[in-house]
């Protein structure tokens, strides 16, 4: 019974962690511009993240180490430093976008311009980090994140044409705006295959004191959680395809977000949207902040745990405090949050190989994962994901230039 509860809670947590401003924005944009045609990108990204999250959880449960911990050990400081700089910079931009998402939700709720909400939103994130435990962040915020299921209910109630939705699951070539189509696909993949997800998940396994007995539980949580997360993203795309695309409306500003749920739920749709965006972005902001602090502390061998008092791990507390300040400074400049989101998702895609290549080595190292090493199928999948990551790395910046507009 305890394990079933853990699995249920784990799936809920993973769903909460999956959906954030990047997946909402990229899915809404794809639906508005290309109707159901880009569902395949969410499905592909979802499959990739299922495998990576499962492997990150299995690695930590069996080895008792986090992925960054092992990268420093196995690949040395120079590779770690490279990974750290790349990942911290990209994560800071994504965090700034998530803080922007929280502020947009507050702007929609109050009518006060989002920039004014940056400091209160950043303070709220810091306060939860300062006073909360890992359980509060992991479970509390994620359970609230279930409000995002309103997108799924909305997508069901709007009765999309099933044949077209199913056709969208299969990759197809664009009929128009080719560069923009591929840029949208890359952004969706960047939003889905977020390194912060598997780095955070790996640290979470240690915080929750997983051991070899959790290998099966991990598999169910990773698969269930990421699948449900992908279903929510697909629902956002379906809603945008049903509401924006037929009218030829482009998704160009976050103020258009309520239009996704209001036609289905009426007055309450507005508030469901505000709650969904606010909570999803708050949850993601907490996870990304923790991920940067974990990465720093684990890489340098500091004391770390969200369950300890800040003064017992002053450098860890300083790391997340500084992270929030820097990200809030980016948000407060007033950069359009949607532009920042789409740009940071494309940048995430461009830097994926740095985070994913180590999996191939770590998941086959007997000294870490013993009999739980990857089989031929998992290795083939990781190689396929690495190949995809290299393609994304090469094409994302040119596509940003030629198709990002």
């Amino acid at each position: 019974m305890k394990k079933i509860m853990e699995i249920a809670l784990g799936i809920v947590t993973s769903v909460g962690g999956f959906l954030e401003i990047g997946s909402i924005a990229t899915a809404a944009q794809a639906g508005a511009d290309f109707s159901f045609q880009l569902i395949w990108a969410i499905v592909l990204g979802g499959l990739c993240i299922i495998f990576l999250v499962e492997q990150a959880g299995r690695f930590s449960a069996v080895s008792g180490r986090t992925i960054p911990d092992a990268i420093r050990e196995r690949f040395g400081f120079n590779y770690f430093a490279f990974l750290y700089i790349v990942l911290a910079l990209v994560s800071l931009l994504v965090l700034a976008a998530e803080i922007g998402g929280v502020c947009i939700a507050l702007e929609l709720a109050t009518g006060i311009h989002f920039q004014w909400w940056t400091v209160p939103a950043a303070f709220l994130i810091w306060l939860v980090m300062w006073k909360g435990t890992f359980g509060v962040i992991e479970k509390g915020v994620s359970v609230l994140g279930l409000v995002t299921l309103s997108f799924v209910v909305g997508a069901y109630l709007i009765h999309p044409p099933e044949a077209q939705v199913l056709r969208g699951v299969l990759p197809s070539l664009p009929q128009h705006d080719k560069a923009h189509y591929w840029f949208a696909a890359v952004s969706i993949l960047g939003a889905s295959i977020s390194p912060y997800l598997f780095f955070f998940y790996s640290s979470g396994a240690i915080e929750d004191e997983w051991n070899e007995g959790y290998v099966g539980v991990n598999r169910i949580i990773a698969t269930g959680g990421m699948t449900f997360g992908s279903v929510i993203s697909i629902s956002v795309l379906i809603l945008a395809a049903m509401i924006f695309a037929p009218q030829g409306v482009k998704f160009e500003h976050y103020s258009q977000l309520p239009d996704l749920l209001v036609p289905v739920f009426g007055y309450w749709g507005y508030w469901l949207l505000v709650a969904s965006v606010g909570i999803a972005c708050l949850g993601a902001a907490l996870e990304i902040t923790l991920e940067i602090a974990y990465l720093t502390a684990q890489g340098f061998g500091w004391n770390w745990s969200e369950n300890q008092r800040p003064k017992d791990e002053a450098r860890f507390a300083a790391a997340y405090t500084l992270t929030i300040i820097v990200a809030a400074l980016i948000t407060i400049t007033g950069i359009d949050p949607l532009t920042l989101t789409i740009f940071s998702m494309a940048l995430t895609a461009a830097t994926l190989p740095v985070s994913i290549v180590p999996f191939l080595f770590l998941m086959n190292d007997y000294s870490y994962v013993r009999v739980y090493r990857n089989g031929w199928f998992s290795n083939a999948v990781v190689i396929a994901i690495i190949s995809l990551a290299f393609v994304l790395a090469v094409v994302s910046i040119p596509l940003q230039i030629f198709g990002g507009g």
């Binding site: 400081f77 120079n78 061998g301 002053a314 507390a317």
Partner: protein
């Protein structure tokens, strides 16, 4: 033992099992006519920067902290040091931050 594989970059825990850093460097002593001897492990930004570039390392004046090889035990998952971390320079920054910044914020 393979020093690079089994010791370098491993987590160091003190005798109270407190995380105190990583093995940032290993110091060998070479005496004429004798084989090289592992003398210390090092922790510190200077050592880390030296691994990136000698010039970067030389730019940092703060000397690394050394623990004698005889005071450590290299395990499978960690390097155990027979010292008390809080009484060593390894936690200098941690203690400074605790005292001057983090500890002063309400709720710390």
């Amino acid at each position: 033992m393979n020093l690079i594989r089994d010791c370098l970059d491993k987590q160091i825990n003190d005798r109270l099992k407190r995380r105190m850093g990583r093995v940032d460097g290993i110091v060998l002593e070479v005496e004429p006519g004798r084989p090289p001897r592992v003398a210390y492990i090092e922790l510190g930004v200077k050592t880390l920067m030296k691994r990136l570039s000698r010039r970067l390392g030389n730019a940092i004046t703060h000397e690394p902290y050394r623990i004698a090889w005889g005071q450590i035990e290299v395990g499978l998952n960690e390097v155990r040091a027979d010292v008390e971390a809080e009484k060593t320079p390894a936690l200098e920054w941690e203690l400074w931050l605790r005292k001057k910044v983090i500890g002063r914020i309400p709720g710390a």
